[in-house]
């Protein structure tokens, strides 16, 4: 539904040229909820704005539906107002001089094909979708933040575009409302079956809402996959540290196999090796804190046992976070809050080889 090929965008700033996007390819299927996730400045918003036509890439091709909207090679640039898209902006961009009804009616009036009765019924329908029916005559500035966000959504959906673009639409809501809206939003776009391209820097939003996540860094896509794949099998240190908490143990591949072995300063770790790894390669072993447990028993065939001293214990409410010094490294783990542990005591940590993943350094 959305196809981007070899997209490159650069800006002219006071300090010279900035390459915001350097060679992005992606393919969003019909009805998919596709998220671009990354820290600020990674090029995710620039990519989204290129799809909308608000940025002018200097290389690449973009297809929305069956419309070629951008092809630098063939000198095709379709302006935003001729693209079949709806978009929700980070600031919502609700026009303060128009009331709720007129804000939503704006895209229909620009189409100039609809009669006024038709406009009325379509605006009502869009407002009902976001539960703003009854507020038609309210001046837009007199809405709460959550209502403005839903109004922006209604305006983006009213002309029934093939593609919905969402630019951090939840970032201006307070924490509780954001949580509720996450599920409502996903439920709504899934019910309508509309293809959605979503931009966020919030890993939790990305994990809970998306069908597919593309993690971006430095203007490129670092890894793409389902939320589960991205979390369970991060491809490199950046993805592992950006999504969730991770322990990192640097080392060298000692023995190949399944599991292989990596020599680290905290001992030899049995773990899954990256494809094509050879003995002697520098790698980083990634372990999620929740995969580490305390255990006094012997090591199983596919388990690592490490001994260390508890350096710090932080009570988090739903968990105890412990920091255990193992050799020169500290490993963080999460325990049940009722666990009986004491600072300074020596403990044995169990790390299943299946959840230890070596990535290339």
């Amino acid at each position: 539904m959305i196809r981007i090929e070899d997209l490159h965008v650069r800006y002219q700033t006071e300090r010279g040229e900035v390459y915001a996007v350097r060679g992005i390819d992606l393919d969003v299927k019909q009805g998919q909820f596709f998220t671009l996730l990354g820290p600020s400045g990674c090029g995710k918003t620039t990519t989204l704005r290129s799809v909308a036509g608000l940025e002018r890439p200097y290389q690449g091709e973009i297809v929305v539906g069956d419309q070629l909207v951008l092809s630098c090679r063939r000198n095709v640039v379709v302006p935003p107002y001729k693209r079949d898209i709806g978009m929700v902006f980070q600031s919502y961009a609700i026009w303060p001089h128009l009331n709720v009804f007129e804000n939503v009616a704006f895209p229909l009036r620009e189409m100039k094909k609809s009669s006024s009765g038709d406009i009325r019924s379509r605006v009502r329908k869009a407002l009902a979708l976001v539960q703003l029916d009854g507020l038609e005559d309210r001046p837009a500035p007199f809405l709460s933040g959550g209502q403005q966000q839903r109004l922006a959504l209604a305006r983006a959906l009213v002309k029934e575009p093939r593609v919905l673009l969402l630019d951090e639409p939840l970032s201006n809501l307070d924490a509780k409302l954001r949580e509720e809206t996450r599920f409502e939003l996903r439920e709504l776009v899934k019910r309508l079956g509309i293809t959605t391209l979503y931009v966020t820097h919030d890993q939790l939003e990305a994990l809970t809402m998306s069908d597919v996540i593309a993690v971006m860094d430095g203007g490129q896509i670092v890894q793409r996959g389902t939320p589960h794949d991205i979390y369970a099998a991060p491809k490199n240190r950046f993805v592992a540290s950006f999504i969730g908490l991770s322990n990192f143990l640097e080392g060298r591949v000692k023995a190949l196999g399944a599991p292989g072995e990596v020599e680290t300063s905290s001992g030899v770790i049995k773990c899954l090796l990256p494809d094509g790894a050879a003995a002697g390669d520098e790698v980083i072993v990634v372990i999620r804190p929740e995969d580490v447990t305390l255990n006094d028993g012997a090591a199983g065939a596919n388990e690592n046992m490490l001994e260390g001293k508890i350096e710090a214990i932080v009570f988090m409410g739903d968990a105890l976070e412990c920091q255990v010094a193992v050799g020169a490294k500290a490993i963080r783990l999460k325990l049940h809050p009722s666990s009986a542990v004491a600072k300074g005591s020596t403990v044995r940590l169990k790390l299943p080889a299946a959840s230890c993943r070596a990535v290339r350094a």
Binding site: Q12, A52, G53, L54, V77, P79, P80, Y81, K82, R83, I85, G86, M87, F89, Q90, S91, Y92, A93, W95, P96, H97, F106, P107, E110, M111, P141, F142, A152, R155, A156, K159, L165
Partner: protein
């Protein structure tokens, strides 16, 4: 045609238009200063030399001219800033009662035309006919001291008072948003209130105060009406009036180029102060005393000085608005000029107002003024809007240059701009503009372009970029977006700028005096100037009274719109 090509053509068109409107008159001003031809119309590149410069700057009286100008500009700027600081401090940082009168009243004094204020002062303090001086003679006999307004001191006092409202408007937000914790830090460090004021408060305000003062000095340097009414009759010249005097005598002696040569100094001073001013402003921003938070600074307790302070502040309003108005109102009912007395009130008549209605020149001047003012205001709004749109909202390659070009006319005094256009219109005689009100309109439009673009830039920056982009992705092409998003959101600014231009264009005499060419393009300001020159004082008083009333009403309208615009910004974007 390709959309982006069409937009690019528009942008280049606007850029070239502004480039021409600003640079063409300036080039003619500079070329004219080297012209040795008898008349501007005869100018050619073969008749050029340094004669004008030599005759102007070798003249001994030029030294006096410099001295007078420096005293006048320095004196009035200093007086203006002292009064403005005092007033701003009283309303923002003390518990003086009745502040609302000053918040409303001080900006309203902007509506008073300087020319009419100067005339009112003449009616009060002229040595021969001044009411105050007549009374003094009546009371103390012929040996009574005479207050003479036709002096440098008179000019300094009036211009000083006239500079107050602008400085006040600049200083009030500064004093309001000053972080009180900076002063509190000094207090807990052991400083007494007086040394806190001296070592912290004033030091923090210093860069801004200097910037405001330079701005004031530029304004004083450019003003023509005050030194024109108070200085010319006594032969006391400052730059602006000297240039005018040269042009006026040039009707008999072909020395037009000398005015240009003199104006070059003016241009240099103006450009230098502009550079200094922008540098100071950028330095002032480094002192981040204005943090944008809504502080409520502690108020200084005036104690038993509360009421005297309020009376002193009201006295300023009395001098600026009430006094000139009362003097004009009184004089407008007189059959002939005389100091107020029981006898004078008995012979009062409406004759002057009746004469105005019958006097043909008044009608044509009103029609001309109306046309000139409406076209100037409309053209300024339209041109400023499209220029600001390119400057603020586009990626046009020369948008910074365009912004600076639009700011240049701000540094050029109206009287110099008048001479520049005088040459331009005479030389480009294929454009039938010389001697028409359109010439004045064009001149004013360029003069006000800097104010217009500053206002529009600020207002456009207030409109979040995504409000515009939301219209594009909703299917609105650029011109529809301009029409449905920008124009309604900018409407308060349009009206505000429009009325501001009307308020100024209607009363400035400098440029129209240079471009005036008989009754065909006589505007109200010129009519008043000429009638005053010829001594029809009661008739001038009648026109002046009506003009003051309409300007005050317009100002009140601006204030109301200003409040609405403020409300709109609070909720918008």
């Amino acid at each position: 045609m390709n959309e982006s090509l069409r937009i690019s053509l528009w942008q280049h068109g606007i850029f070239l238009l502004v480039l021409f409107l600003v640079l063409a008159p300036l080039s003619f001003l500079i070329l004219g200063s080297f012209s040795t031809a008898r008349l501007p119309g005869d100018f050619s590149l073969h008749t050029m030399g340094l004669v004008n410069y030599i005759s102007v700057y070798a003249d001994a009286s030029t030294l006096d001219l410099f001295a007078n100008t420096i005293i006048y500009v320095g004196g009035s700027a200093a007086l203006g800033i002292v009064l403005a600081v005092a007033l701003a401090w009283l309303v923002e940082r003390t518990n003086m009662p009745g502040k609302i009168f000053l918040y409303a009243g001080v900006p309203t004094t902007l509506a008073m035309p300087g020319m009419l204020q100067a005339m009112a002062w003449v009616l009060l303090f002229s040595p021969r006919i001044g009411f105050v001086n007549t009374w003094m003679k009546d009371i103390f006999g012929p040996g009574a001291p005479v207050i003479d307004v036709y002096t440098l001191e008179g000019m300094i006092c009036l211009e000083g008072v006239r500079l107050v409202p602008t400085a006040f408007l600049m200083l009030v937000p500064l004093m309001r948003s000053m972080d009180p914790s900076l002063e509190e830090a000094a207090a807990v460090s052991g400083a007494r209130p007086a040394s806190t004021l001296r070592k912290v408060t004033l030091k923090l305000l210093a860069p801004a105060l200097v910037a405001v003062m330079i701005y004031q000095a530029m304004t004083a340097l450019e003003v023509f009406e005050i030194p024109g009414i108070l200085g010319l009759p006594a032969g006391i010249y400052v730059f602006s009036t000297k240039i005018y005097a040269i042009v006026r005598t040039a009707t008999f002696m072909p020395v037009y180029g000398q005015a240009n040569a003199l104006a070059m100094v003016y241009v240099l001073i103006a450009v230098a102060t502009t550079v200094l001013y922008t540098r100071l402003i950028s330095r002032a921003e480094r002192y981040t005393i204005v943090t944008g938070k809504g502080y409520r600074p502690r108020q200084f307790d005036l104690g038993r000085w509360r009421i005297p302070a309020f009376i002193a502040a009201l006295f300023f309003l009395f001098i600026s608005i009430v006094l000139p108005f009362v003097v004009f109102l009184y004089a407008s009912f007189l059959p002939y000029l005389q100091a107020p007395s029981a006898a004078a009130f008995k012979v009062m008549t409406l004759k002057n107002y009746r004469l105005l209605a019958e006097y043909g020149e008044v009608g044509s001047a009103l029609r001309n003024t109306f046309m000139m003012v409406v076209t100037t205001a409309t053209a300024t709004v339209a041109l400023s809007f499209v220029v600001s749109l390119v400057v603020v909202r586009s990626k046009f390659w020369a948008r910074k240059l365009l912004d600076q070009l639009a700011f240049v006319p701000h540094a050029i005094p109206g009287i110099v701009m008048g001479i520049a256009f005088f040459w331009l219109f005479l030389k480009l005689d294929f454009l039938p503009l010389y001697g028409t009100i359109w010439a004045i309109s064009i001149g004013f439009t360029i003069s006000f372009l800097s104010y217009g673009t500053r206002s529009m830039n600020a207002a456009l920056l207030q409109i979040h970029k995504e409000l515009e982009e939301a219209a594009y992705v909703s299917g609105a092409p650029p011109w529809r977006t301009m029409w449905r998003v920008f124009v309604p959101l900018m409407m308060p600014t349009f009206v505000g700028v429009w009325i501001w231009v009307v308020l100024h264009a209607v009363r400035i005499a400098g440029m129209p005096l240079i471009l005036a060419e008989g009754p065909g393009n006589q505007v109200l300001a010129i009519l008043i100037w000429n009638m005053w020159d010829e001594g029809y004082v009661p008739a001038v008083a009648a026109i002046g009274t009506l003009l003051m009333i309409s300007l005050l009403l317009l100002t009140v309208l601006v204030r109301i719109i200003g409040f609405r615009r403020h409300a709109m910004q609070m909720v918008g974007g």
